[in-house]
């Protein structure tokens, strides 16, 4: 019998294959390390610049022309207000849209059209959303520079990302689980609520955390809306004007005095801490769900 696989040749090729194997392993390792090193350098710089400036007064003071007196209170509270609006609103609308598209809607040209648009919206620059917010919410609905106008704009901005991530998570739930539920006489809503959503929550949250993290660090749409950076009071309702941390930090970095660079670094640390806190909450919820099911 003629052999089609010449084993001596296979052995000859073996070295080259194994070298390639190791090269790629190293390549991917360096890719990981590169990102990590940059991150560590960045964090190191920010934290060293912020030391000495980050204290209780910094958290309790309103902005000031004098760097020593400048604080982040207005921006910190403003960011929390904004998140308190954006998170529930965008989650409800985003997850709702995803559930409708994945679980209810029959595949048609109309749903294809919506699907394509959502995917495209996810790539639209944030400044465009700012213009939309300015036209529709700030001017059209006369909400001005309020928390509400900014919240609605930001919700729209992160909505497509949440929809797409939630759809992926819902699609990853095996159909067998739905069948098992329907097979026992469960309604569609019972199946979604008790089987599909719990299984999809970890995925939905992972996508949503990324989307909300983007919202908390975003400035462009707020600049278009005309959100101020120098504010010495806190919003009392969603109709009041306010500012957020990235706007405040941006403003500080643009000041001529050397000291304001330190103030900005301190602001960045506060922003990072808030981000980490938000993520921790989401991860905590996710783990809770994973344990239960």
């Amino acid at each position: 019998m003629k052999r089609l696989v010449d084993h001596s040749e296979v052995i000859q090729h073996m070295n080259g294959r194994l070298v390639k194997n190791n090269i790629f392993k190293l390549l991917f390792f360096f890719a990981t390390v590169f990102g990590l090193i940059i991150l560590v350098v960045l964090l190191y710089r920010v934290f060293t610049q912020a030391t000495g400036w980050l204290n209780i007064d910094f958290l309790q003071n309103f902005p000031s022309r004098i760097p020593e007196r400048a604080g982040i209170k207005a921006a910190l509270v403003g960011s929390i207000w904004l998140m308190a609006m954006v998170a529930p609103l965008s989650l409800f609308l985003g997850v709702g849209t995803a559930i409708y598209l994945e679980e209810y809607a029959k595949k048609s040209r109309f749903t294809d059209f919506i699907q394509t648009n959502i995917s495209n919206l996810a790539g639209v620059p944030s400044i465009v959303f700012g213009l939309l917010g300015l036209t529709v919410f700030a001017r059209g609905m006369e909400l001005g520079r309020s928390v509400l106008a900014a919240g609605l704009t930001m919700s729209l901005l992160v909505l497509p990302v949440i929809v797409v991530a939630s759809q992926e998570a819902l699609r990853a739930v095996p159909n067998q689980l739905r069948e098992a539920s329907y097979g026992m006489g469960a309604t569609k809503w019972q199946t979604i609520y008790r089987v599909v959503l719990p299984a999809a929550v970890p995925g939905i949250l992972t996508g949503s955390i990324l989307a909300l993290s983007r919202a908390i660090g975003e400035t462009a749409p707020l600049i278009v809306l005309g959100i101020p950076t120098f504010i010495a009071y806190l919003p009392k309702s969603v109709f009041d004007t306010f500012t957020v941390m990235p706007m405040q930090i941006y403003n500080w970095t643009g000041r001529p005095q050397e000291e304001f660079q330190h103030v900005a670094a301190a602001g960045i640390v506060v922003l990072l801490v808030l981000l980490v806190m938000l993520n921790s909450i989401a991860i905590w919820i996710r783990n809770k769900f994973q344990k239960r099911f």
């Binding site: 689980l177 739905r178 098992a180 539920s181 097979g183 026992m184 006489g185 469960a186 008790r194 719990p198």
Partner: protein
């Protein structure tokens, strides 16, 4: 020819109550004619096996019995299936109601990613039972009914995914029993299991038939011969032969049945 076979084979047991009566059932997936003029009666407290080669429509048929087939887009049916005298395609017959009477066990064990207890309690819960005591009782009774109680009684609140494949399938049977159905549909319930687990499930089916009517799709002919009272042989979307199992396997009336059960094709 079809009716001829039926008359000849079904005649001796007319006393048993009919659970499902299928008349001139046709089903299309889009343009594909998957079931052609199916005529079949399912009797109470019997195991009815449906055999046939892949793609013959046996799974499609069993999924039509509880209307699960409607989850597939572009499915059309004509004809009639009556369950206990009521046409299941009647618009006033709510599908949720039908499925409360007709439980289903699937090809691959598909427990929910929840605890063993929650898996079994799922059915009763969605039908509105909240009383913890009643739920406890249902869970124990169902798990005993599925012959898995002794294996899991000490870890009811552990995740069902920790069970072996065979145990998971019996858990799925327990979950199905928990809604106290009248009929149990089984779509190749042992095809993903090892021989020992298969044996356990088969013994269980033997036991369950005292209280339930069972319809089982299988591509394992020995299994059909071992556990069923009646067997239907499907080929290309048609019922070639439907007879008492002993008869169908010993003296098949149709040449194609004979070829199939003797392993000449399929």
């Amino acid at each position: 020819m079809l009716t001829m076979v039926k008359e000849k084979t079904i005649a001796p047991t007319e006393e048993k109550a009919v659970v499902y009566r299928t008349k001139e059932l046709n089903l299309w997936y889009g343009e594909h004619h998957a079931l052609k003029n199916i005529e079949l009666d399912i009797y109470e407290n019997e195991v009815t096996a449906i055999i046939g080669p892949s793609g013959c429509g046996k799974s499609t048929y069993i999924k039509t019995l509880n209307r699960m087939i409607e989850l597939v887009p572009n499915v059309r049916t004509s004809g009639e299936i009556t369950y206990r005298g009521r046409n299941i395609f009647d618009p006033t017959y709510r599908v949720e109601e039908l499925r409360t009477q007709v439980g289903m066990v699937f090809q691959k064990p598909n427990p929910f990613p929840k605890s063993i207890y929650e898996n079994v309690a799922y059915g009763p819960r969605i039908h509105g039972i909240r009383d913890k005591k009643i739920l406890d009782e249902i869970v124990e009774k169902s798990l005993r009914g599925a012959a898995i109680w002794d294996e899991v009684k000490d870890r009811l609140h552990e995740n069902a995914y920790g069970l072996s494949g065979g145990q998971q399938q019996r858990l799925c049977i327990a979950r199905c029993l928990a809604i106290e159905p009248d009929v149990i549909l089984m779509d190749e319930p042992t095809s993903a299991l090892d021989p020992i687990s298969t044996l356990k499930v088969e013994e269980l089916i033997e036991e369950l038939k005292k209280n339930y009517s069972i319809i089982i799709v299988t591509h394992n002919m020995q299994q059909a011969a071992r556990i069923s009272d009646r067997t239907a042989f499907f080929l290309n979307g048609e019922v070639v032969e439907f007879a008492e199992t002993d008869q169908l396997f010993s003296t098949p009336a149709d040449k194609r049945t004979e070829d199939y059960i003797t392993g000449r094709f399929g």
